[in-house]
Point group: C3
Chain length 265, copies 3
Amino acid sequence: MNIISLTTDFGVADWFVGTMKGVILRIASRATIVDISHGIASGDIRAGAFALAAAYRYFPRNTIHVAVVDPGVGSGRPAIAVKTADYFFVGPDNGILSLALSREKIKTIRHLENDSFFNRPLSHTFHGRDIFAPVAAHLSRGVSIQKLGPRVNEYVRLNWPVPKRGPGKITGEIIYIDHFGNAITNIDGQSLVTESRTVWDVLTRRKCFGTLQNHYEAVPLHSPAAVVGSTGLLEIAANGGSAAALFGLKIGDSVTVRVRDGAKL
Amino acid sequence: MNIISLTTDFGVADWFVGTMKGVILRIASRATIVDISHGIASGDIRAGAFALAAAYRYFPRNTIHVAVVDPGVGSGRPAIAVKTADYFFVGPDNGILSLALSREKIKTIRHLENDSFFNRPLSHTFHGRDIFAPVAAHLSRGVSIQKLGPRVNEYVRLNWPVPKRGPGKITGEIIYIDHFGNAITNIDGQSLVTESRTVWDVLTRRKCFGTLQNHYEAVPLHSPAAVVGSTGLLEIAANGGSAAALFGLKIGDSVTVRVRDGAKL
Amino acid sequence: MNIISLTTDFGVADWFVGTMKGVILRIASRATIVDISHGIASGDIRAGAFALAAAYRYFPRNTIHVAVVDPGVGSGRPAIAVKTADYFFVGPDNGILSLALSREKIKTIRHLENDSFFNRPLSHTFHGRDIFAPVAAHLSRGVSIQKLGPRVNEYVRLNWPVPKRGPGKITGEIIYIDHFGNAITNIDGQSLVTESRTVWDVLTRRKCFGTLQNHYEAVPLHSPAAVVGSTGLLEIAANGGSAAALFGLKIGDSVTVRVRDGAKL
């Protein structure tokens, strides 16, 4: 019996997530269901894709990852299940799965068309309950992915911004702001650490946020701390506060990392 | 070992829900506990009743549904457990269970008076922890509902507004607004779809919201889409936004559905 | 297989809590994981300590309580695991565990230094994922606490304000405000009830909030009700509303309980 993870924009105020769990347990009474997040902003496919990509690899092999941020529900956009070397992924084919999938070795992609694995009657507006939850439950019971529908070769990929490297500098952008107000960029922090003889200054909107730190409390209270976050990406944080609120940072803001003039350690 | 579902207004900021789960697991260590919602507005018995009614039937048979929105806790209002043909329900007898119960075949209703199934000392303000959680845990272990207290014949029912049908029109009202800002009415959407040769216009506060759609993206961005929601009821949604925020919709607002003049498909 | 409880300030919008659960299940696939709260205010160690202390004793014996409110993550502050007569506790040694520990019989305290029980690579900013979750999972599988690191004799204790008793009065303060807006004080409510022949008036900022009530609905709508809350402490609540909002109550506000003049029942 495998684990089923859930990532949605359904919130926790209503009955939506609980209902999906009821549906899963009717089919797979011993399933272990784990919430990754239900707090993705409504319809924000990119944020959902980012959260799933940040979390999925910490789960046991064969976990079935269900992700539903689905503004096009009912419109005819395809639904897919994907088997990779280590995991299963289930969701609408709108990009929500794509960031995680781009890091995995894909075995097969299936369109979810076999409605004998759906809840009936099928609603037009809640495929989380009527398609994705029951399909994941059946997969967790060992139903072969081949039975879910026809094989397809491609899935919808989101366009993710790629940082630009120039001589002595890298320019990227803020792609996610977390609950603490930490602003996560698309700049690989690990590469900055590896080049550790270099002092990197971190700038956004022409303001210099100082150099790379090891942890939040390395700077004075409410000062900015650029750190390599737990996703491996460069983050702008604030000691004891929200960097987003204190410094007015927003998703899409440009962030530049550059070698400090004449500064070799 | 059965499943126990929880629906409360306790929120997730404090330790209330976790404490109920601890109490359940002390009695029934292998219970599966599922949150339906803990985000019911404080003291909003109607919203809690609606959420429970929308979700409970998606759970496996014999699930024990615990619902606690309980502004009268400690005041002497009775607490009940109800066995129906398919489920158990546990909560204060203040109407929170009534919408679900009205759809079920009731086998027995018991007042919770046998304090040997309670947590002691019994607090005056947290019966979720001290009465409802332990009673549900004992039921999940197979304790007979008859042991919980004396049989009663009635339970408190909420007054739910009933839509009015006139010639060529139905007038109801908004009864719930969900996390997405979708405004759920008390008008049975299925009956509108069945009468499918008719074009129904949906109006609220004299503004016409257009006709019934199949899904959210059938209308332009930020436009209203009247759809049959996943509960089977007519909903007013907005493509890519919150209908409640965009159109100023509130619980209690009147909604009229009427046949478009001369419009037979 | 024991239960693992989680208390953090990670919120539920991001993937942090789900990732911790994935890490636990990779090590202990049959662990039962229970959320106490993830809504502790960011970095509020006192609130986290209070929530943990209010909840932990309702869990089964041998539950492993993980608490992570950790503004100093990565700075070199020690991490600890503690075995008491009835439970395990795991978290940063910054006071978060201290209120619960002060009520328990401590068997051993260990610094978490054996990195063979950590996730690798170890991040600087997410020890919940990389240290506390895997250590708790290993404990739940029966790994001896002695293997986790060297024994220490002390843990960091928070300074909790202690109420002052004068003739016929007790002065304390508000230490926590819950989701309902109830203001929880540090005054032992049980002792007031025991001295039950006395009429106690409850005052804050010179305003008298009336006498001790048994439950919220004992006073008119939106009036203050001083009650003994479910933690055993005196609380100022409001019937049908938020006491904090209605009466402008804040953490740190002084609260006095005094015998009403000439009032012996």
